[in-house]
Symmetry: C2
């Protein structure tokens, strides 16, 4: 165990840089906040480079730390808040190596995200895909960073449970269609197919689009069918993560 009390410590300043995407990409590392997520990373066999605890966390997880990370850092509450980018961090943060999932053969249910911008929405959709029993999630070009602190918070460790890969969607949709996959787009257009009329599927992909613009028209034109959720009230649309949840739980076997 090493102790760091000054938030001007150069090592701490280096770590804090990982809140920026640029530094995460340079180092292939990111910050996980909270014991629960650090434990999930450990259980998933992901490389944990550094562990930071505040005095409360040190007390609470003494045995866990002693057994797995005797080289942890004890830091002040203030430093932990800085690293966790949270006003009330849960006592532990860690620097974790990014892992790249490789997919040789797509099977099962896949969620494809086309230019989804809000990190909370992306994290929530990955968490929901996990809960629904999807095989994985594809982040299309222009979709927000998986390791954004807000994505990580709303994802709640689901990226350790299912595959998350980055692909160009036009190529991927063609590839999936050349196999036995049905690719469903989503549209607000009432000429699209009511999602309630679609049969439960085996191998399929569901594409969700940008919060404001929806899916790109060229992708909508490629899909096997485009689905919509009938709106009965006066709301103009559903939040994209809510819509994704309704569709995923409806479509999966």
């Amino acid at each position: 165990m090493k102790e760091i009390q000054s938030n001007k410590n150069p090592f701490i300043k280096e770590i804090k840089k990982l809140q920026q995407k640029k530094y995460r990409q340079q180092t292939n590392s990111y910050i996980l906040e909270g014991f629960h997520l650090v434990q999930e990373a450990f259980n998933a066999g992901v490389e944990i480079q550094e562990v930071f605890v505040n005095p409360r966390g040190q007390k609470e997880w003494a045995a866990w730390l002693a057994e797995r990370f005797p080289e942890y850092y004890l830091v002040s509450d203030e430093i932990l808040k800085m690293l966790a980018d949270q006003p009330t961090p849960q006592g532990m943060a860690a620097v974790v190596s990014m892992t790249e999932d490789t997919i040789e053969q797509f099977t099962g249910a896949w969620l494809l995200l086309d230019q989804v911008q809000d990190p909370g929405n992306v994290g929530t959709m990955i968490r929901t895909a996990d809960a629904a029993g999807f095989s994985g999630v594809v982040l299309g070009e222009g979709t927000v960073d998986l390791y954004n602190p807000k994505t990580l918070r709303s994802m709640q460790g689901s990226h350790f449970h299912l595959a998350v890969v980055s692909r160009k969607l036009p190529e991927l949709i063609s590839e999936l269609q050349s196999q036995k996959f049905t690719v469903f787009g989503t549209a607000l257009d009432k000429n699209a197919k009511n999602y309630q009329t679609v049969d439960v599927q085996a191998d399929f992909a569901l594409v969700m689009g940008n919060e404001g613009q929806g899916m790109r028209p060229d992708l909508l034109a490629m899909t096997d069918a485009n689905l919509y959720i009938p709106i009965k009230g006066q709301a103009e649309s559903l939040n994209v993560a809510v819509a994704a949840g309704i569709l995923m739980f409806k479509l999966i076997k």
Copy 2:
């Protein structure tokens, strides 16, 4: 039209206080951000006390302002950011009077929120209830403030479309049950009823609970049935707004 350029202007400082719940409650007023929501408030017949635009907004909505709010305030970008509590406000903000919905007789589908803490979740659930064709939403004791800026942003004006009322949930559940309502609770407990086995309902209430703790046990004991959504993957739970969306769209006629 009046112009205000200094962000130290005492009137602006007074308005900015409405970002705090205490001042909203004292004045029964709140700040709406963005032309779209201000227009919805106007169309709903809600009292609009003051309208603020930045130079871009003044240009964009000149005719609308001239016809409806000739007494609007032209303010600097910086002031609008302050009032809107947004780094990139959409050119307009307004001070709006709170309205209280009164319900003489509950009918149709109602969403009841038990101690839901996250303003984004509350706003998203009200938006979803609107889209699903629910009659209204009840904010139980301990549920976050309807006029929190984050609630307003995720609600997207749905509080102008359906009834939103505050009630004590134990009393309300008894009241609804003494009428013809079926009251469904929600639980992670697998002894609860799989939501897929429930028939589409006419008059019913669905209770969603706190993000961490779920519904209070005394409420779970009062309901006619408690529902759960089967989790097929490794996620421990669903985001409460996603779960609410899946259940609302499944249960409503």
